[in-house]
């Protein structure tokens, strides 16, 4: 893949507009947070709710994630990576911390309190089914991506969950991403051709 294509793929999502919004927020313009929220909240909410599988908890975590983004925006450096990656890591960590606390509560409190919640979770599970290109992957590749990108598992936790050696799991992730990328590139090439024709 050449750099031009790589750059195209990157710019497809990380627009100059977002960069400007981040700079405005870094300069103390809070109105930029509203626009960043509009651009990123749904993607982050999708990650959060798939990790914690609890709508009420997910709402609090999303709000908390954006409060942290607002407070820590000065520490974000766009030379080190995308804003989405940075925000994703905040959301993922907060979600994992929240479910760890919930697990402790479940161990120490009356389990009956959480029965209804389990029922809700099964209803919610249908909404949490993964969408898009990930569904075109082989089942084990899809599972590997789902574990690490959407369930908040580490590589080490996920390979145990799948019952395959760590090395095998790592190659699953690499192969899955490669396949996804190829399917994305087909779209990217189509968009490029379309733009050429329109131009």
């Amino acid at each position: 893949m050449d750099d031009q294509t790589s750059s195209f793929v990157k710019d497809l999502t990380m627009t100059e507009q977002d960069k400007a919004l981040i700079e405005r927020l870094q300069n103390g313009d809070n109105s930029a947070l509203t626009l960043l929220y509009d651009n990123y909240s749904n993607a982050l909410y999708g990650v959060i709710i798939r990790i914690c599988k609890d709508e009420h908890l997910a709402k609090n975590i999303l709000q908390d994630t954006f409060v942290t983004i607002w407070k820590k925006i000065d520490t974000y450096d766009n030379q080190k990576g995308r804003f989405y990656t940075w925000a994703f890591q905040i959301a993922r960590n907060k979600s994992l911390n929240a479910i760890r606390k919930s697990k402790k509560l479940i161990q120490t409190e009356d389990l009956s309190v959480y029965k209804d919640k389990s029922n809700n979770q099964s209803n919610l599970a249908e909404d949490l089914n993964l969408k898009g290109h990930i569904n075109s992957l082989d089942a084990h590749h899809k599972q590997a991506i789902e574990y690490v990108y959407f369930n908040g598992l580490t590589h080490r936790e996920a390979h145990e969950e799948m019952g395959v050696p760590l090395g095998t799991f790592k190659s699953y992730v690499r192969q899955a991403l490669k396949q996804l990328r190829e399917s994305y590139l087909k779209i990217a090439s189509y968009v490029l051709v379309l733009m050429e024709c329109l131009g």
Binding site: M1, D3, S6, V9, K10, L12, T13, M14, N30, L33, T34, Y37, S41, N42, A43, L44, Y45, G46, V47, I49, R50, E55, K59, L62, Q63, F66, V67, W70, K80, G81, R82, Y84, T85, F88, Q89, R92, N93, D127, L128, L130, K131, G132, H133, I134, I145, V148, Y149, F150, T154, H155, K170, V173, R174, L177, L180, R181, Y184
Partner: protein
């Protein structure tokens, strides 16, 4: 520097993007990204994959989260001036404390200065008293000397020389007698020193009787002696230390007749 193949094999870039690495691994990956452009391209692709997956699987967040978030942020923004106020108060406290400390130090300094000045003042007062005493003494002495010299310079004062006999041939006493003022002064600067057990004593002869005029202090310019009315002569004897009730005639060293005595 970690090898490129090691980073790829261990999925370190994927795990870096996910935020799974510890601080040391993050540092190693970031250095490798600066060094290997191929890894940088791979990193950017993985970031793009993550974001695309996220966007494809986005779930609409409930609308109330946004309004609650904005409310929370505006309330925290309003709260921040209070924090500034607290920090300002803290600053004021330190300023006030500093001023108080300076005032305290100043007071201590001025108090010690005041004490020192008071002590100095006392010393000055004491010195002044001492000087006054000395002045009075000197003044008294001056008055005495003046009065003595006035007496010597007085035309009614007569001067008599008492030369020593064979017992004390080196002795010379000068006597100034003023019968008007009834005063007698003697100059004893030329009287030889005696041993510690003897003194010179002066006597007035009145009708054949020797009357004590006092013990002579030697080496004095002018010594006032007791004036005796109707004295016919002045006589000096050597007597036991402190003087004698009656003169020891054998120890007479000098005498002079007062011719003009009325």
């Amino acid at each position: 520097m970690i090898e490129k193949d090691y980073i790829i094999e261990k999925n370190l870039i994927e795990r870096y993007v996910l935020g799974e690495l510890n601080a040391s691994e993050i540092d190693q990956v970031e250095r490798a990204l600066e060094h290997y452009s191929e890894l940088t391209v791979n990193f950017e692709l993985i970031e793009a994959d993550l974001e695309k997956l996220g966007r494809e699987n986005a779930i609409d967040a409930p609308a109330e989260i946004k309004s609650e978030l904005l409310k929370l942020i505006s309330s925290q923004e309003e709260a921040s001036p209070d924090i500034v106020e607290v920090s300002k108060l803290k600053n004021y406290f330190w300023v006030a404390a500093s001023i108080a400390a300076l005032l305290l130090i100043g007071n201590i300094y001025f108090y010690s200065e005041k004490q020192s000045i008071l002590e100095n003042l006392e010393t000055v007062e004491q010195e002044k008293l001492e000087l006054n005493e000395k002045f009075n003494l000197i003044n008294d002495s001056l008055n005495l000397i003046n009065s003595r010299y006035a007496l010597i310079g007085n035309p009614k004062t007569e001067k008599f020389i008492l030369n020593g006999n064979q017992i004390k041939p080196d002795a010379t006493i000068i006597a100034y007698v003023n019968t008007t003022q009834k005063k007698v002064l003697v100059d004893t600067q030329n009287l030889p020193k005696l041993d510690s057990e003897h003194d010179y004593q002066m006597w007035a002869d009145v009708d054949g009787e020797m009357i004590d005029m006092g013990v002579l202090k030697i080496n004095e310019e002018l010594v006032t002696m007791t004036y005796i009315n109707n004295a016919e002569s002045l006589n000096v004897t050597i007597e036991p230390a402190g003087g004698n009730d009656h003169p020891t005639v054998a120890n007479l060293i000098s005498n002079v007749y007062l011719d003009s005595t009325p």
